[in-house]
Symmetry: C2
Subunit: 159 residues, 2 copies
């Protein structure tokens, strides 16, 4: 196991464990429960599901894997806070989109070589990357895993 492979394993063990925990929590909730707030006056489950779907969808472009699947979700679930958009996708629709984004990422990751993960992501210039090699593709997984953990801690509060 090379040092690159070791670091990729460490990062993806976390990423995959968090996704598994999130999916277990998601499957345990009904569509009706997803309408509940994580805590009084805070985000609803359905908003967090849409938010995570939109953020993970944006990884497709950040990792240079193609085009975003649901660019329209950016406005509803990232730019705007919960309860500020009158009509949002249904829970059933968001469950499908969440799963689809996850599948697309998994398939693309399976085709990547270890060294690919240490190449620059698309939000950094080649010039900046030369001096800041940590702004690589693997770091997108590191930061999004942290983001996922943050919202997972909230998501499991839904009753």
């Amino acid at each position: 196991m090379t040092l690159e492979e070791t670091m990729i394993k460490m990062t993806f063990d976390r990423w995959n464990a968090l996704l598994k925990q999130f999916n277990t929590a998601l499957e345990s909730l009904t569509d009706e429960q997803l309408q509940h707030e994580i805590s009084p006056g805070r985000n609803r489950g359905i908003y967090l599901l849409g938010h995570l779907t939109a953020v993970h969808d944006s990884m497709v472009t950040l990792l240079d894997l193609g085009e975003r699947l649901y660019p329209e979700m950016q406005e509803i679930f990232i730019n705007k806070p919960d309860k500020s958009v009158p009509e949002i996708p249904s829970a059933a629709d968001l469950r499908q989109k969440w799963q689809h984004v996850g599948n697309v990422l998994d398939e693309a990751f399976a085709n990547m070589q270890p060294s690919d993960w240490f190449q620059k992501h698309t939000a950094v210039t080649a010039e900046d990357f030369a001096g800041e090699p940590y702004r690589n593709k693997l770091n997108i997984i590191v930061t999004r895993a942290s983001h996922l953990a943050y919202h997972l801690g909230q998501f499991i509060l839904i009753k």
Copy 2:
């Protein structure tokens, strides 16, 4: 910047950013607010503060940096759930302990060399580590950063 240094930077950028966010949230709360629950019927802020202090304290031994500072916190804040122990340390006491553990870790980390982070932690045998090099000290930071992010997402819900 070597590959080792790149990975250490990626990991510690997350760890330090999460600690900073947590400390900002902690400073914004009064001792009285720390008695509030993150969501009705869930953990109180004071329990999460004690829990994170105890978990980070346990990193001292896992990373082979010495003895735990507050071993008695294991029982109250890790083994037992919130509201099951009649007497727990005060908010003021826990704030001090949290800061002390953070300082001890920071000082010890400053004395470590990049290659030290890729040595085994104390909860894996040399035999197992030979085939599982990802069970290294840096991975303790990776997993505890994920744990911190999870509880940070909850901690910021306290009003």
